[in-house]
Every structure is written in C-alpha cells, then in structure tokens.
Amino acid sequence: MSTGNHDAERLGELLSALPAVPAAVVTAAQELPRMRRELDRIVELAEADAAFRQALVDDLETALRASGYEPNRIVVEELRRRFPA
C-alpha cells in the first residue's frame, strides 16, 4: 500500500474517509460473544421446556421479554430460524 505524497490536504481527505460509526452499531457487534451465550441458554431452555418452546413459536419477542431477555436482532433471527412458526 503506497502511503507516499502526504500533503496536508490529502491527509485530511484520508482521515475524513473513515468517519466514526454509530456507537450503537459498534456496541452490538462487540456484544456478539455475550449474545451467543444468551442464545445458547435460550435454546437450551426451549429444548427442555415445551411450553417455553411453544411460546417462542407463538410470539418470539414477547416470550423473550417475559423470560428476561432483550430481543435483539441477532438473537431473534437465529431463534426464528431454529424455531419457525
């Protein structure tokens, strides 16, 4: 990668080329390991508890909230895939 010819204008342009990302988006990605653990716990619970499993199928987000889990996008998509309505 060439990094030559760095006049001030060019440097400013390159610094501007990578603007900050919305903090919530970054935080959600940083929390992936925690979300994966949470997902595993929910799946384990659903496999052991038929009523909870049915509640997930009937209304996924409400069932998650009722069980104390925040239904974030990644967890919801994965659960929908595993427990289709």
């Binding site: 990094t3 001030a8 940083q30 992936l32």
Partner: protein, 185 residues
C-alpha cells in the same frame, strides 16, 4: 496496542480465537470504520443497509475466525468478506436478480483502494500522542468545528488551526518513517 498492523491483527485474532472477549471488542473497534466505510462509500448503501451489513460482517467474522489460515492476513480477509456481504445486500434489494457482482466489485475498486490507504493513515494516527489523535479525529472524522473542538478540549478556538497543522505534520512524519513509533506502556 502498538506495532506493525499485520502483527497487531495476528495477536488480536489469536486472542479472539482463545475466547478473549476484550480482544474481540478491540478487533471490532479497530475495523468498525473500515467495514462501515466499505458499505457506505464503496457500495453506496443506505445507512440502514450499512448497519445491517456491518452486523452481518461481524457475525460472519465471529463464526468463521477459526477458518482464517493466516492470522496476519485478517485485513484482506475482512475486506473480501465485507465486499461479498455488500454485494449480497445489493442483489437482495435489486429488481434485476442477475445483478453482476463482479461489475459491482470493479466499480467499487478505486474507492476500496482509497479506504485501504485511509486505514494505513489511521494506523499511523494511532501511534501519535493522545492530543494529536483527538484533535485530528474530531476535526476530520467527526467533522467538528474549531469552536466545538475548543470547547471539548478546553483550548482557545484561535489555536485549533495551528494545532491541527502541527499534528498533521507529525502524522506525515510518522507515515514517512521520520520519527520512531511511540511505545506506550
């Protein structure tokens, strides 16, 4: 974290693979701007699509990190993965299902090159003292005014321009290898 970018990546990837969540957080932080900029600038996705692409990329990275053959090659691997996710997103939203992925990648190539160069500049920026990192990031990447920067950093607004100029000089020297890379304890 200091050192050559590839070596930093390799160390972070190894720690991530060992289950170190702080390393994962650092890896996401390190590459968040790059991934987002590929989506928004190279492939011109909307903010909403870029958010989705961003999450999808890091989900794939998290799931597939074990398949990376060379930890030091993380950056090109991530770039390739991000390009694929962007093209998939454009295809999913296109009326023409036969959207040509290669043509899209070709159109984005110049911008991708520029973003790689920008990433090299950010690597150099990361080696500068905190006051320079802060002021250059606020002015160029966060698009803050002299006044806003002055208030945030408790500096007279009249000195901001000269500080930016000095810090750009240090950044240029760093890129051209004139000063040794600072080592923070």
């Amino acid at each position: 974290m200091e050192g050559a970018p590839d070596a930093i990546d390799a160390a972070l990837v190894a720690r991530c693979r060992a289950g170190d969540e702080a390393a994962w957080s650092e890896l996401v932080e390190r590459y968040s701007r790059y991934v987002y900029a590929i989506a928004v600038q190279a492939f011109r996705l909307s903010a909403a699509d870029a958010d989705d692409v961003f999450q999808e990329c890091f989900v794939r990275v998290y799931e597939r990190l074990g398949t990376l053959r060379d930890d030091a090659a993380f950056r090109p691997w991530l770039a390739q993965l991000t390009r694929r996710v962007c093209i998939d997103r454009l295809r999913a939203g296109a009326r023409d299902a036969e959207l040509d992925g290669e043509a899209l990648a070709e159109e984005a190539a110049d911008e991708l090159y520029r973003l790689e160069e920008a990433l090299a500049v950010r690597d150099a920026l990361a080696t500068l003292p905190e006051n320079c990192r802060e002021i250059l990031d606020r002015f160029f990447a966060r698009d803050e005014s002299y006044r806003a920067i002055g208030e945030a950093l408790d500096l007279p607004a009249g000195t901001i321009a000269s500080r930016i100029s000095r810090c750009l000089g240090r950044l240029r020297e760093q890129l051209e290898g004139r000063i040794p890379i600072a080592v923070e304890s």
